[in-house]
């Protein structure tokens, strides 16, 4: 009551610290740990050339003499390679940092692609209704009956069948992956956005915009879109972990990123061949990195969903 005279508005940080989200964040130690791990991995991946002790892609620096060196705390190890090296003499730690970079890039790109596609189709279906709605949502229904990994595999196979001869694996793998993962994830966004669009469409501000004769596309983008994007953020966070896992799975299955520029999944696949000959570190360390990354993002996504969902309060 008495703060009315207070003229200076509190700064951004001060306002953030006053929110429910911040309160729930500070109270929850596990979420704080997950956020910390996520940020560390993000920064490590972003500044990989500065952080990584070696450049695993610099063929000149690789030496077969250094291949299959065990981690630093084991016998016959080399202090230069903290987590050991693989069969080509690449430093595992550096390969993980660079691999996380590729995994995250694929993850972000495919989530962005899925979100843009899903939001556009959801807006169109919800706003236009009628036959457009029916066609889009029936496609969504059919797609939803199948697990996304199966759809990603099918798209991956078809795309490589169509464009197979024209581009090399190295150049196209990234885009093929983003396309297949993105196309297998769009349904959730479309359904969510469609249902909120159906509600927003009948509100007065949309009717007013329609009355003054704005173009439907402008109404959708400028008026409806900002009001339906809230839940999309939560889906995107949870999807990021799922996209990273899907990328790793596809790469592990041998239809993803090739081994010249390995992602986390590719590293695990390479190492899998050495599991029986005793060189367990090649596959186990990238595996742990992938698991920790997915778990941390999942925890953040779950927390975000709980905090932003007013029904659970």
């Amino acid at each position: 009551m008495s703060v009315v005279e207070q003229s200076d508005r509190p700064g951004f940080i001060a306002r953030m610290r006053d929110t429910d989200i911040w309160y729930s964040f500070v109270r929850n130690r596990i979420v704080m740990l997950a956020a910390f791990i996520t940020i560390v991995i993000f920064l490590g991946a972003l500044f990989a050339p500065l952080v990584a002790p070696h450049n695993p892609f610099d063929l000149a620096s690789l030496s077969l003499m250094d291949s299959l060196v065990p981690p630093a705390w084991m016998e016959e190890s080399d202090p230069r390679y903290l987590l050991g090296t693989d069969d080509q003499g690449r430093d595992i730690l550096s390969a993980i940092i660079y691999g996380a970079r590729i995994s995250l890039a694929v993850g972000f790109a495919s989530v962005a692609f899925a979100a843009v596609l899903g939001i556009s189709l959801g807006l169109l279906a919800g706003y236009l209704g009628g036959r457009t709605d029916a066609i889009i949502m029936r496609i969504a229904d059919v797609q939803l009956t199948f697990p996304s990994i199966l759809i990603a595999l099918l798209i991956d196979g078809s795309v490589r069948g169509i464009f197979g001869g024209q581009f090399s694996r190295e150049d196209s793998a990234f885009y093929v992956l983003v396309l297949s993962i993105g196309l297998s994830f769009w349904v959730q966004y479309a359904r969510t956005v469609r249902s909120s669009t159906l509600v927003e469409k009948n509100k007065e501000y949309v009717q007013a915009a329609r009355l003054i004769g704005l173009h439907p596309i402008k109404i959708m983008l400028r008026h409806v879109l900002p009001n339906v994007t809230g839940p999309v953020l939560v889906i995107a966070t949870i999807n990021l972990a799922l996209a990273i896992i899907t990328e790793a799975t596809l790469s592990f299955l041998g239809v993803g990123i090739p081994s010249t520029q390995p992602s986390l999944g590719t590293l695990i696949r390479i190492g899998n061949d050495f599991l029986f000959s005793g060189e367990w570190w090649i596959t186990i360390f990238p595996g742990i990195a992938l698991a920790v990354l997915a778990l941390a993002i999942n925890l953040l996504g779950d927390w975000l969903r709980d905090v932003l969902n007013p029904r659970l309060r």
């Binding site: 199948f146 196979g157 078809s158 169509i162 197979g164 896992i245 899998n272 992938l290 997915a294 999942n298």
Partner: protein, 325 residues
């Protein structure tokens, strides 16, 4: 009830038609079927003759109808890799996948439901927290990673279980089973647990949240007030009412079990349909991909229908509501 069944049947046929259209487009337009069948030295005239024989010069709708007609009769063409009929290859591989999926489904139910009930009844116990933590890990860890960890632990470090293949197979004529030999059963342990883990955590979490909801209702409190034994309250009254969503999810998950078997089969080199499909994707063997897609779609549609029918049997409320519709 009859109207409901017929409506679901028409929907299912619609879904199957859409999927077969996709499969047909893949089959016909991804890569040239003729190029895949003939060698380099085949002349253009010979290719034209083959094209005519295969009916590839007919109008597209005619080709689609023929494709659907052949598919219904179980003819999916010839695999580009193996040069054998796709249906035969799939038939050989199917028992392995079905056995794996079946055992995993049983495992997931037998372990998941009691764990869910336990974590709901004893929310504060250490064991409950342990179960919940395992379930979080089970949801976050990719299937292939769990498989590799299992192989590392049980096949490499302890060397007590085989890490690949099906073990000894008994040929029953129409079904080649690994369930009758000890090596076959041993080979089944790791893959089935790997495949079951995700479904198990899903079922456990579902049973737990449903139980918590039901335990809060008035009729459970009334049962307790009447002095019924807690076992009969918890299992006879509470658990029974959680079963509808559990049946739905468990039913739908059988389909995903078969699809996720692709990953498990690859990790453990299990000679099933999933491994076959993956090799087809790697080598762009479109007939196998198309046939597998249709087969999985058919399974999903059948399971969906069965689940809907089961609802009506389990939950009398739906029976009455369905009649009014």
């Amino acid at each position: 009830m009859l109207a409901f069944t017929i409506r679901r049947l028409i929907q299912s046929i619609g879904v199957m038609l859409v999927v077969s259209l996709i499969a047909f487009v893949m089959f016909r337009f991804v890569g040239d079927p003729v190029d895949q069948m003939v060698g380099l030295e085949t002349t253009i005239e010979e290719r034209e003759i083959l094209r005519e024989q295969l009916g590839l010069n007919d109008a597209t709708p005619v080709q689609f109808l023929r494709f659907v007609g052949n598919a219904i009769q179980g003819d999916f063409g010839v695999s580009y890799q193996f040069k054998r009929p796709v249906a035969t290859i799939l038939g050989e591989r199917m028992p392995a996948t079905l056995e794996l999926a079946f055992v995993s489904a049983i495992l997931a139910l037998v372990a998941g439901i009691p764990m869910g009930v336990y974590t709901a009844l004893r929310r504060e116990s250490v064991l409950s927290k342990l179960f919940l933590m395992i379930s979080l890990i089970g949801v976050s860890l990719p299937t292939f990673l769990i498989g590799i960890l299992f192989i590392f632990l049980f096949a490499v470090v302890f060397q007590i279980l085989p890490s690949f293949g099906r073990g000894e197979i008994v040929d029953l004529g129409w079904w080649r089973t690994g369930l009758l030999t000890s090596s076959g059963l041993k080979a089944l342990i790791l893959p089935s647990i790997t495949l079951a883990l995700f479904q198990m955590t899903l079922i456990m979490r579902l049973v737990r949240s449903e139980m918590l909801e039901v335990l809060r209702t008035d009729y459970i409190k009334f049962c307790q007030a009447r002095g019924l034994r807690s076992r009969s309250v918890n299992f006879g009254h509470a658990l029974k009412n959680t079963l509808v969503p559990v049946i739905t999810i468990a039913g739908l998950q059988i389909g995903s079990l078969i699809a996720f078997a692709i990953i498990t089969e690859t990790v453990f080199q299990w000679p099933g349909m999933g491994l076959l499909f993956l090799q087809a994707v790697q080598n762009v063997d479109i007939p196998i991909m198309a046939a597998y897609l249709l087969l999985i779609a058919f399974l999903f549609v059948m399971i969906n229908m069965a689940v809907d029918m089961l609802y009506v049997v389990v939950d009398p409320r739906i029976r009455i509501g369905g009649g009014e519709e």
